[in-house]
Amino acid sequence: MIRVIIGEGSCGIAAGAAKVHEAIVAAMGQSEPFALGSTGCIGMCFLEPIVDVYEDKTLLRRLVRVSPADAEAIVDAARTGDMSKVDSITISDDDAEFLSKQTRIALRHCGLIDPTSLEDYRANDGYEGLAKVLSTMTPEQVIEEIKVSGLAGRGGAGFPTWFKWNAARQSTGEPKYLICNADEGDPGAFMDRAVIESDPHNLIEGMLIGAYAIGASEMIVYVRAEYPLAIVNLTRAIEQARAANLLGENILGSGFSCDMRIKAGAGAFVCGEETALIESLEGKRGMPRLKPPFPAQKGYMDAPSNINNVETFANVGWIMNNGGAAFSAMGTETSKGTKVFALTGKICKGGLVEIPMGKTLRDVIFGIGGGVRDGKSFKAVQMGGPSGGCIPESLLDTIIDYKALGATGAIMGSGGMVVMDETTCMVGMAKFFLDFTAQESCGKCVHCRIGTKRLQEILTRIVNGEGKEGDVELLEELCVGIKDGALCGLGQTAPNPVLTTIRYFRDEYDAHIRNKKCPAGECVALRTYSIDPDKCKGCTVCAKKCPANAITGEKKQPHQINADLCIRCDQCRKNCKFDAITVE
């Protein structure tokens, strides 16, 4: 039986998948010999919307960049089985390598199964890990298996998961809570959303195994309210699991009881910090607590609690099913298993990439991502979002490993990889992230509240051409002070984008400060517009478009730009048909 499956994760919908779905429905007759269904996000953002055509479990065709206009052809192909009708929208071999070069564990079901169907999950080994754990393993054995796997927290800190579980297990006090941090806040990171939207039962299974290991009786998923589809899909999955006795009392007859609920967060970045998340869960203002006591001792409602990130839990069911050793067989000495990266920015093929630890950044960015788009050259990649740092071209062969990445000044983080090309100003990039962290500081500690604001102000004056000699040294001093004095991870890591851009792109800072030039040409305040008299035909379009009346000239004579009046809006350059506007 032929099945037509539309990728309808948030990103697919944003790219037009819902409209494609409507069009296909409209093109279908009363009864068709094929079935129509949907799946979540397969992680190939650059090819959305994506429609897969299966015969039973075999993928016949993967159709990409599908538009509603393709609906007739798709229906026709599915009806007749003649796949040549959709040749023109079939994925190229080159693009198909985006997936084939990956090793998917956390994302193993994403874009392949129907996230609304418990049966579909179960048909793909779902809940087998849980069944094995509940029927054959003690909590201590589960923790031992996780220890063998070498799984470390995928949210950013990379702390050994077994250690946290063990601490919570050892901690006395009832009840215990298992919390999932799904407050994915790093700009450019979206793997957690993909897992919850596309494979919600995987999260539930991983959490149940964790809850069993630490002895928790309640599980809470703290998910940001900006992920409505994730909340809908997870809510449905929880209900399905409850109905199937996978949640609630006496799960699968094992005597283990545990239930689950969702807490929608209001979208404060700092609530991704585990103690701030707990405060928020308790209904308080999201501000970090002091550690110790750690959540394992005194967490949610002062009870022993364990918090892990979505991606961490997404690996757990697989590990139980395949054994810790299989997981630790992948990776490096200090970093085991796979890691999901969200590849974005000036990249040819953006999307979710899951690869074993130990591959190089070049493998990901060039090998899978196809390198920099539009023929531009690679400049740097920002790893780990606002808490991370940038890595320059010269370090592209750095392996993906907590230690190796840390040595560059960046971090593994939650897996955001924002690729920048030659047109990206690194000072502007640092400012972008400081704008973010200053905005997202909770306001509690002095170093972060005022320090990030001051960093942002200094960076702003540099990109505006008002930087002073000594500003870079001041930034560095302030950064070190903030790292030393800030209360939580947000503040302690907020200076990283500044420190790494200074470390690798000091010349760009100097150019802004000393020469009042932006080498990347991105800083608007430092641009100078002029008209090439040899190219200008005197068509007067630029003068008419200029909102500041900065352009003058006689018809059919070369025009001029008055630099004092120019507001650098770029309208003249965009509208010039003769490429006569030069920007320096």
């Binding site: 203002r285 002091l290 030393d484 800030a486 209360l487």
Partner: protein
């Protein structure tokens, strides 16, 4: 309770298991700066000042939040700790929108607590006001009458309408105190057996005598003139400062046990060396008593006099005949005193010759105004080119007409001669009032500047001779206003006290938080005009040396004092933030930037909150919740915009406030003020 041992700064201390590093440090008398810790409240950890280094721990730890363990090795003052603390303080101060001290205070050379005494005057407590003034200025009735009041130049009330009349308020309070049944007498410390000799009984010498006498020193003031007071007595004319007022204030100083010896001149009656032997310390405050000559042809003619010489003669009781036409050269206050004295001595035409314009004249504008009222003819933009005489006696002065040229290095436009343009005045007397010099015969052992003044340390007034200090007009920059001499005398007295107590001689200018006036909304204040001092009629004034001003009425003074905007922080003395900011060198101005919203002051029943001074230690919020069990306050907004407000600004929540004032009590800064 189980005891643990740890090492803090190399010292072994004990504490109870479970206590934080900070608790143990406090119990052992080791101070670790902190702004958000309070023993009654849950640990919060926001300020980041209490960071310490613990051996084998790579990160800095917050002492308030780190439970001490046995054998822990803690250091509270490593370079890394000091740097983190410095950044914290600089960040806090860069966002602290408040004035520790009013700008009046900061611009007063004597650093008088102006806001403090003005408040007492407003409340009707003149003697209390005098107590505050005399801590810095021991001659308030005199100084109040003659001071050119730099304080008023900076008074913020001028941005509402006009500055406060601070100097006259000081005179008012001092007069009232003096006339009262029980004038203020300072508490004099028990005699410490040490002797200080002061040469010069002017404002510097007298003020140093007062300050040292109060500290228990046996002070002797020696002066070459028949009476004490220096330039206040012999320079300032009677009509500005009645000598009876000055004499009464000097008598109060004498009553503290100060020995006053007049008609004693060093170099003639006694040597400096002998004084050094007789006294444990010597202060040289001899002033600058020599007039500078006009410096043009004819300036040695009969009838060319020195300004301060004329003033001294008149103050000694003489009434010299200066003739019908008198020209005074100079544009400063001595020139004003000289020209107005000439008017009073019967001159018909009195001219003031000044090479710049009125705008540049250093004299107080009020003095110029009053001189014009009294008929003085100001010859702005003229300069004496030659003094012409007959038979050795002055008859005329030839004036070079000037114009203002390009601004010089100081920004003032310098006068340049208009070529060939002259004016001639018939004169009987020319009085030179363009400056004074020191006459330091007898002080040859002291190192002098090129200007002929004594080289004295700017901060602690030491000279090249051990035990010899110098202050006032005779030092460094030379002559200045009386209150500057008084300020230097305060420094000298403090330095002499330190010197004789074997303490280090250092004066550190404290770090103060200051607001930019442009950040203040003055429109909210109700306009109230500055009190106008009533003066005698100019026609009456010309014929005598009676005091020109009549003094404030009681009603005027109280209302005037109430105009004070109270710029300085009410909590300065108690402020922990400024305490720590002065503990180590900081430079917050390098981090200047935006300030969190600070203009709105909210009132919560009987508490006024100044967001600009709030450092978000959250102490009030926590106290309200944990101690008062109310939970009225909370944090609003995020990041830099975070402020403390009643939760959700809910009137019902606010109504729960029972005015326990616990929040204000714990506030480490002046952000919370209890309203009466």
């Amino acid at each position: 309770m189980e005891q643990i041992k740890l090492t803090i700064n190399g010292r072994e201390v004990t504490g109870n298991k479970g206590q934080s590093i900070l608790e143990i440090a406090i119990a052992n008398g080791i101070s670790i700066p902190n702004l958000c810790y309070n023993k009654n409240l849950k640990v919060y950890g926001a300020c980041g000042l209490c960071v310490v280094e613990v051996e084998k721990v790579p990160k800095l730890l917050r002492a308030c939040a780190t439970v001490a363990t046995d054998g822990m090795v803690v250091t509270t003052n490593t370079p890394r700790v000091m740097q983190a603390r410095k950044i914290a303080l600089e960040l806090l101060m860069s966002d602290h929108e408040g004035d520790c001290k009013g700008p009046c205070h900061l611009n007063c050379p004597a650093r008088t607590d102006i806001q403090g005494y003005v408040k007492q005057i407003a409340l009707g407590n003149d003697t209390e006001a005098v107590k505050i003034i005399k801590d810095k200025i021991s001659l308030p009735a005199s100084i109040g009458r003659v001071c050119p009041h730099p304080c008023e130049e900076e008074c913020r009330r001028q941005f509402v309408e006009q500055p406060l009349s601070i100097a006259y308020l000081k005179a008012f309070a001092a007069d009232n105190d003096m006339a009262s049944a029980d004038p203020f007498k300072p508490v004099v410390a028990a005699a410490n057996g040490k002797k200080v000799g002061i040469v010069g009984g002017g404002p510097a010498g007298l003020n140093a005598a007062y300050q040292l006498a109060v500290k228990g020193y046996a002070v002797t003031v020696m002066d070459m003139m028949p009476e004490m007071g220096g330039m206040l007595r012999y320079g300032i004319p009677e009509y500005r400062l009645p000598k009876a007022v000055l004499a009464a204030e000097i008598k109060q100083i004498e009553a503290l046990g100060v020995t006053m010896c007049n008609n004693v001149k060093v170099g003639k009656d006694v040597t400096l060396e002998a004084l050094r032997e007789s006294y444990d310390a010597v202060l040289v405050a001899v002033g600058a008593w020599k007039s500078t000559g006009v410096g043009c042809e004819g300036d040695k003619l009969d009838g060319v006099l020195g300004g301060i010489d004329v003033l001294r003669e008149v103050n000694l009781g003489a009434r010299p005949n200066l003739g019908k036409n008198v020209a005074v050269v100079g544009g400063g206050n001595v020139a004003m005193d000289a020209c107005r004295t000439a008017v009073r001595l019967g001159a018909e035409n009195v001219y003031v010759i000044y090479r710049r314009t009125r705008a540049e004249a250093p004299a107080e504008d009020l003095e110029i105004e009053e001189a014009i009222e009294e008929g003085v003819d100001f010859k702005w933009l003229t300069n004496p080119a030659e003094i012409i005489g007959e038979n050795g006696k002055v008859t005329k002065v030839k004036l070079q007409v000037m114009e203002l040229g390009e601004p010089d290095a100081s920004g003032r436009r310098s006068p340049v001669p208009v070529e060939g343009k002259f004016e001639i005045l018939d004169v009987d007397t020319v009085i030179s009032a363009i400056g004074q010099r020191c006459a330091l015969e007898g002080f040859e052992a002291l190192e002098l500047t090129k200007k002929g003044t004594i080289v004295a340390d700017e901060a602690v007034c030491t000279t090249n001779l051990p035990g010899v200090f110098a202050a006032g007009d005779a030092t460094n920059r030379g002559p200045s206003i009386a209150v500057r001499a008084i300020g230097e005398a305060n420094d000298a007295a403090a330095a002499i006290d330190a010197y004789l107590s074997g303490k280090a001689l250092i004066k550190v200018e404290p770090y103060y938080s200051k607001r930019n006036k442009d950040d203040i909304d003055f429109s909210a204040y109700e306009k109230k005009a500055r009190a106008e001092m009533s003066c005698k009629d100019p026609a009456y004034r010309k014929g005598n040396f009676d005091a020109v001003i009549n003094g404030f009425t009681e009603e005027q003074a109280r209302q005037e004092a109430a105009r004070c905007l109270e710029c300085g922080c009410h909590d300065y003395e108690e402020c922990r933030l400024i305490d720590f900011a002065n503990n180590q060198p900081i430079n917050p101005s390098r981090l200047d930037g935006g300030k969190h919203s600070c203009f709105k002051e909210q009132k919560l029943v009987t508490i006024e909150r100044d967001q600009g001074k709030c450092i978000l230690c959250n102490m009030c919020v926590r106290t309200c919740r944990e101690e008062a069990q109310k939970g009225i306050l909370g944090l609003v907004h995020r990041g830099f915009q975070t402020v403390i407000k009643p939760e959700f600004m809910d009137p019902a929540t606010i109504a729960d406030c029972v005015n326990c004032h616990k929040c204000a009590d714990v506030c480490p800064t002046g952000a919370l003020k209890i309203l009466k």
